[in-house]
Symmetry: C2
Subunit: 222 residues, 2 copies
């Protein structure tokens, strides 16, 4: 477990992150790599969801994971234990990753060795939504204890996500969480967003999520 590669990512030298993100998407297409940008609040279950996702798809794709964290390596250790290639990106206090920081991580993973790259972004519903990482698709996790009103309060995050996983549905009975209302609010922000209820702890819903991913990866790397 001591062999986790840690990259101290540097601030981007590019003036326009949007342009650079488009450039990175071109590079990914060229090398037939699908990049998922996974975002959420702290503690919504990104790492557990990621572990399940890897279990479901690691025989089908060559997976590589970038764990972005302010300065710990708690999650990277968990991911390394799944056996896939993983690196830790230290943002040095930065609250998000931009396209060039993501590129620095992908270079370490080795684009030619990876079909399905995953960026676990910093736990934050505000800043990561403002910086295009160059990902092929954006996903976010909203966990039941956070409440169904989050799309009202963090509009940009929900509007840029292709898929929203509603995690921790096993504890729904103990919280005032209205799934239908939540879906309605998400679709107010983004009518095209796919919503998948899951429980990363028990594995419920992971099959549907893996299916959505497979379809999108296959479309992207064919």
């Amino acid at each position: 477990m001591d062999n986790i590669r840690v990259i101290e990512v540097k601030r981007s030298v590019f003036e326009s992150n949007d342009q650079d993100a488009e450039r990175l998407r071109g590079e990914l297409k060229e090398s037939k790599t699908f990049l998922l940008n996974l975002m959420s609040s702290p503690g919504s279950g990104k790492t557990t969801t990621l572990t399940r996702t890897i279990e479901a798809l690691k025989d089908k794709y060559r997976i590589g994971v970038m764990e972005a964290d302010i300065d710990s390596d708690v999650d990277a250790k968990t991911i390394a234990a799944t056996g896939v290639k993983s690196i830790q990106l230290h943002t040095g206090g930065m609250c998000h990753l931009d396209a060039d920081m993501t590129r620095q991580g992908l270079k370490e993973l080795g684009l030619e060795d990876v079909d399905f790259a995953i960026l676990e972004n910093v736990g934050n519903l505000v800043c990561p939504a403002e910086f295009d990482t160059g990902s092929t698709k954006n996903a976010m996790i909203l966990s039941v204890p956070e409440g169904h009103d989050k799309p009202l309060k963090y509009p940009l995050m929900f509007s840029i996500c292709d898929v929203v996983l509603i995690n921790k549905i096993d504890v729904m009975p103990y919280f005032d969480f209205d799934l239908e209302k939540c879906k309605e609010y998400i679709h107010m922000r983004n009518p095209k967003a796919k919503v998948i209820p899951i429980c990363a702890k028990t594995g419920e819903g992971i099959e549907e999520w893996a299916k959505w991913l497979s379809e999108n990866i296959d479309e992207s790397i064919k």
Copy 2:
């Protein structure tokens, strides 16, 4: 409920936020106002905790609340219903408040009319920790579903807080949350931090929290 005052806060004109925060702390001392900066992840229960806090202390102090939000007014409506003076601060996408933005809010509340001002900061464990708001004390809420490892992953936030409320302790049996480990991690970051387990929904622990507040407010406004 339609009379919630909304302030679009402007970017600070001051070069050094740290100096400006010290200046604001001086202004608060001068006017005998205690300012609490309340921070947390999205969905940890800031607004419910605030409602309980107001109930417990509104007969003792003249309370004023500033609700910072990217652009909704969901929380401000809830707070306005408690009957205390409240305003909505729109950050225009910004992920935190600095001292001058806080000052703009306090001006609208009217320092001379308020003994106990509360800033409900943007739901975010990263950026708000980096910007001193000029508050008398900093508090944060960590909710049980987020997990006890958060002090390892968001070190700065825990190191700057005078008090950490562990919220949603009613659902502890349904989560792998180790309270003793959590306290240990918090004290690793900040040996002086006071830790108070609460359940804002049922009111458990609110008495201890209100006592801590009263002591600190009385000390500050005497």
